[in-house]
């Protein structure tokens, strides 16, 4: 009989587990299926935050004290392009992933 894991694994130290479980707030890398990523041109950006307010994934954070103030969490960004469409300055470009253009 092939034994199932019955010890604590280093990554999941909480308990012996079989089956899907997480002990910290985390999620699968849903950014992995993105085809295009939003890239901000900070020479045009006016720090209005409209991109963040319209992001359906709620994964854009505006840090006004920084010059590069738009922080996009690419782990979750699906590349939908809504931020680029909503930007009043047309400061966000959608750039192909994997370098192809």
């Amino acid at each position: 009989m092939q034994k199932q894991p019955d010890g604590r694994t280093p990554e999941l130290k909480k308990c012996r587990v079989l089956g899907p479980m997480a002990s910290i707030f985390t999620s699968a890398n849903t950014g992995s299926f993105r085809i295009e990523r939003p890239v901000v041109d900070y020479d045009k950006c006016i720090k209005c935050g409209i991109c963040a307010r319209n992001c359906p994934g709620n994964i854009i954070e505006i840090k006004k004290e920084q010059k590069e103030c738009v922080e996009i969490d690419y782990y979750y960004c699906k590349g939908c392009g809504i931020c680029a469409n909503e930007c009043p300055q047309k400061a966000i470009a959608m750039v192909r992933e994997r370098g192809e253009h």
Binding site: M1, Q2, K3, Q4, P5, D6, K14, C15, R16, V17, L18, G19, P20, M21, A22, S23, F25, T26, S27, A28, N29, T30, S32
Partner: protein, 401 residues
């Protein structure tokens, strides 16, 4: 030891009470309703120390039972037919998060045509859901296999849920003298339920059944595959221990007069009893016929069936579900696969659908045909064995018998 007159539903309730279930969430459906009602009655009267959750559907019944069991108690539910179909989504969760829930399923045909009566189309549709499946031949089997199912499902090396399937009306509503084990013996056999894996505990929280990316999905499924493989070893060990504790012999497949048989029929469920009777009667006439009854259908006892039937020339498989789009039903497909390369001819039969009785005459018809094929007297094969001659006539449902 106490004998009681019980029907199948009452026997399932006895088993759940003996297992000391602490949470019940069951939604009534014919022919299972008595289980939901009786458990509610026992809780209301204070006989059974459990919480009864009234749910609005089977989808919720399964969700509540699974999540209740996550808190570290045995939970109970039961269903039939379209109720099982409505649970389909959640059945996968229960298996995937490795909760060893044990559920009696009272076999009833799936629609359409709409039916209240027995066949195996409901549980056959869930055969790949990650649940184990036991099929009962009689009412005694229901108590016995329920207890075996708890112990197998909760085994460290298994941790998978189990369905204990029994035929609607043929077993659920027929009375039989049943040996109900004593509580103390069952307590010793099953032990107290302890959470062994995932759990819900507010002082030690975890996310269960979270989104799993392609990097991990295959491995979780592989762990379930290993658990299924393990169950094929664990179930016979549990059955041996059951025999030591309660004195009744159980097995994952039952070989009946197969040793010297020329032809063997494979069945599961209540029709196996009729088939055994037919075997005995035909044996008196000197016909070498045998029966193989599959008790544990998931995990499928592939090697055991191959070993049992490797020298048989002609094998028939009687499916109690229609297997539309294939020449035979699912049991035939799998038995054929198990016997591939053995040289046996494996013939599919379909019968007993939507509550149609499977009497000795039907079984005898199959055996006669199998013997004729074996003796090369005929190539005729009547796969839909109990269909009326006028099956293609356009008809109306004028009366429900």
């Amino acid at each position: 030891m106490a004998y009681k007159m019980l029907d199948g539903n009452a026997a399932a309730v006895e088993a759940m009470v003996l297992a000391r279930v602490k949470v019940i969430s069951a939604y009534p459906i014919t022919p299972q309703s008595y289980i939901a009602e009786k458990l509610a009655d026992l809780v209301a009267k204070g006989v059974l120390d459990a919480e009864y959750i009234r749910v609005e559907s089977e989808h919720t019944a399964m969700t509540a039972a699974t999540t209740a069991q996550l808190t570290g108690v045995r939970a109970a539910t039961a269903t039939s037919s379209v109720g099982l179909a409505l649970m389909h989504e959640v059945l996968g969760m229960t298996a995937g998060i490795r909760m060893p829930v044990v559920m009696p399923v009272v076999n009833r045909a799936l629609l359409s045509p709409w039916s209240l009566w027995c066949d195996h189309s409901d549980t056959m549709d869930e055969r790949d859901s990650g649940w184990m499946q036991f099929y009962c031949q009689d009412v005694q089997d229901i108590i016995d296999l329920m207890l075996v199912a708890y112990k197998t499902a909760e085994h460290d090396q298994v941790l998978l849920p189990a369905m204990v399937c029994f035929d609607g009306f043929f077993l659920s509503h027929s009375m039989q003298k049943v040996d109900v084990p004593e509580q103390e013996l069952v307590d010793n056999f099953l032990g107290e339920y302890k959470r062994k894996n995932l759990y819900l505990d507010t002082s030690d929280p975890m996310f269960v059944n979270d989104l799993t990316p392609p990097e991990d999905y295959t491995e979780f499924k592989y762990q379930m595959k290993v658990a299924m493989d393990n169950a094929l070893q664990v179930a016979p060990e549990v059955m041996a221990e059951f025999e030591r504790s309660f004195g009744r012999k159980l097995s994952i497949i039952e070989e009946f007069q197969t040793a010297d048989a020329d032809v063997v029929l494979v069945t599961l469920g209540s029709m196996s009893g009729t088939a055994k009777q037919t075997v005995l009667r035909l044996r008196e006439k000197g016909l070498k016929v045998g029966l193989l009854r599959i008790v544990l259908y998931r995990p499928f006892p592939f090697k055991q069936i191959r070993e049992a039937l490797k020298n048989v020339k002609v094998v028939g498989v009687l499916d109690r579900s229609s297997g539309l789009g294939l020449p035979g039903g699912p049991v035939w497909v799998e038995v054929s696969c198990a016997l591939s390369g053995c040289g046996a001819v494996v013939k599919p039969y379909i019968g007993g659908l939507g509550g149609r009785d499977v009497p000795e005459s039907t079984i005898e018809k199959i055996f006669n045909e199998l013997l004729a094929i074996k003796n090369q007297e005929t190539e005729t094969h009547t796969s839909w064995i109990d269909t009326k001659a006028n099956a293609m006539d356009i008809r109306e449902v004028l009366k429900v018998v």
